[in-house]
Symmetry: C2
């Protein structure tokens, strides 16, 4: 790595506050004091032309989203974000200002969630990609996928299908819509995850679409589920363009899907109300065959296939 | 992600022992009990046609090397390896058996060093890349780059320049040599790092070539250095093909460069002798201008530029 690259790393780092750690960026490893609670760690990558295109996403969008998808994993466990590492694979022709745009998008979201960049790695590559490892600390038991029991009530946060609609808008050549903003700038539900950890028996973040992700939860918990299609929280635009079936397959929602034991639903709903967190009851776990999802009332539900970002969005 | 990919992840994971952690692969995050000592974390990527080519490296080589470069960072801090996360970016045409080869190469080295795979991520991409985050635990203070003082004695482990010579051999069309093995299968100096943490004032692993990496150590420590070219540990093959100047620029050695206070050198050498770790005195830190490296005796040293793997190896 030449001196030019070292100064580029320094300029990238200058967008982030200095991490309060024993050893931060610049040594072989970052060194972190041991935490009090258990640690949650996750790794997730955004790859050019799979998860984003440079034609549709600004560098700030890409930086934001790369960190957001990792924060969403921490949120899904009920962890408080602590630190992250960032590996950048950079095409040689990438303009320097694009790299600094990535840093700005990432650092704004990092600051919002109080997560510190403690180290990273730059390498050249043909396609742009960002791989982030994020770590958080638990003060409760983690929200896992496997803790659900028949009778637990299913909730989702926010609205569904928006990011998928945003992708369609981009592919149609539109530049701006609230759905496009949801596609480019997902908001990880960190505060809701911390709150939900006191109530939930199981949960995860919805990245592959509600249908697929509910299937994951059910298989891990050994339950079936009943879902009310009419209960799904959809914006008018999503209802008109995709309908409930389309929203079920709406990848990249980055909302939380939570299973709450029936005895705890009232307290959970009150806590969400006080915190200003929007959650919607959409069904319940059942004793049915593991992974089988029916419509509320008993009809079996035709489940759409999951959704695979830009590349499949184009070729399917 | 389709069901096919889930079963591929399961087959990949089946090459690794089940991690002894609260929550392992398959949930949104891995959950790890808090450690006793401070934690070292690092992230490093291997990218196709930059760090390896599929023509020259078997999948096992690639899996081994991707983990080895991260273990080397832990070794450089004096940390005991604990867990790692692995993000794979996979071209769609990559044969399934290649993926399982990656797993085999990685798991053999992981087992050797007692490090557990606790999670990961698969994505499609045009070029193959592997990004790993590795974490280790400290029982001592970390070995940093910044702790060196004038008078500290410089040591390197093993021999230098071998991996660079191996790269040249591959580019010349040779298939097999001990240098090629060093290029493909670097041996991270984990045991030496643990031992050295009791003695060293500073250190790092030699990934960019001794000349560059000694420069990093000197600038971080605010020292100069004197180096004995005739003292560098070189194999006969490296001495003949590259000479000391070539070995100075020999990237990807993954040996350790350590600064030991003069009062501790005897004890350090005895401890290395007992442990069967080969280390060689090559010079010392000086009060000279930070980063300035001279030849022992006072002549200033013409330092070769660093070395940038396959891509630059071809285009320079």
């Amino acid at each position: 790595m030449g001196q030019g690259e070292f100064s580029l790393i320094e300029r990238f780092l200058s967008h982030f506050p200095r991490a309060k750690v024993q050893v931060g960026p610049g040594d072989d490893c970052a060194v972190l004091a041991p935490g009090k609670g258990a640690q949650c760690v996750t790794i997730d990558a955004l790859v050019e032309d799979v998860h984003f295109t440079r034609a549709h996403f600004t560098p700030e969008d890409i930086g934001h989203k790369a960190l957001a998808v990792n924060l969403s994993d921490l949120a899904a466990m009920g962890a408080r974000p602590r630190w992250f590492l960032c590996a950048l694979a950079l095409p040689r022709e990438l303009p320097r200002r694009a790299l600094l745009g990535l840093a700005r998008g990432m650092s704004a979201l990092a600051e919002e969630h109080g997560i510190a960049l403690v180290g990273g790695n730059f390498t050249s590559a043909r396609e742009l990609s960002i791989t982030i490892t994020a770590a958080g600390e638990l003060r409760t038991s983690p929200i896992t996928r496997s803790g659900g029991r028949p009778g637990d009530v299913l909730y989702v946060s926010g609205t569904l299908g928006e990011a998928r609609l945003g992708l369609l808008h981009l592919q149609e050549g539109r530049r701006r819509s609230s759905a496009i903003l949801r596609q480019k700038r997902p908001r990880p539900r960190v505060a809701l995850g911390l709150l939900a950890a006191r109530f939930a028996s199981a949960g995860l973040d919805i990245s592959d679409g509600l249908a697929q992700d509910l299937g994951h939860l059910c298989r891990a918990s050994g339950t079936g589920a009943e879902l009310g299609l009419s209960l799904l929280p959809l914006s008018p635009a999503v209802r008109a363009a995709l309908g409930p079936q389309g929203a079920l397959a709406g990848g990249e929602d980055y909302e939380l899907l939570l299973a709450i034991p029936p005895s705890r639903t009232s307290a959970f709903e009150r806590a969400c109300g006080r915190a200003g967190e929007r959650v919607t009851r959409i069904g319940q776990l059942t004793g049915g065959p593991p992974g089988l999802i029916r419509e509320l009332g008993g009809r079996s539900l035709r489940l759409p296939a999951g959704f695979d970002h830009f590349r499949n969005g184009r070729t399917d």
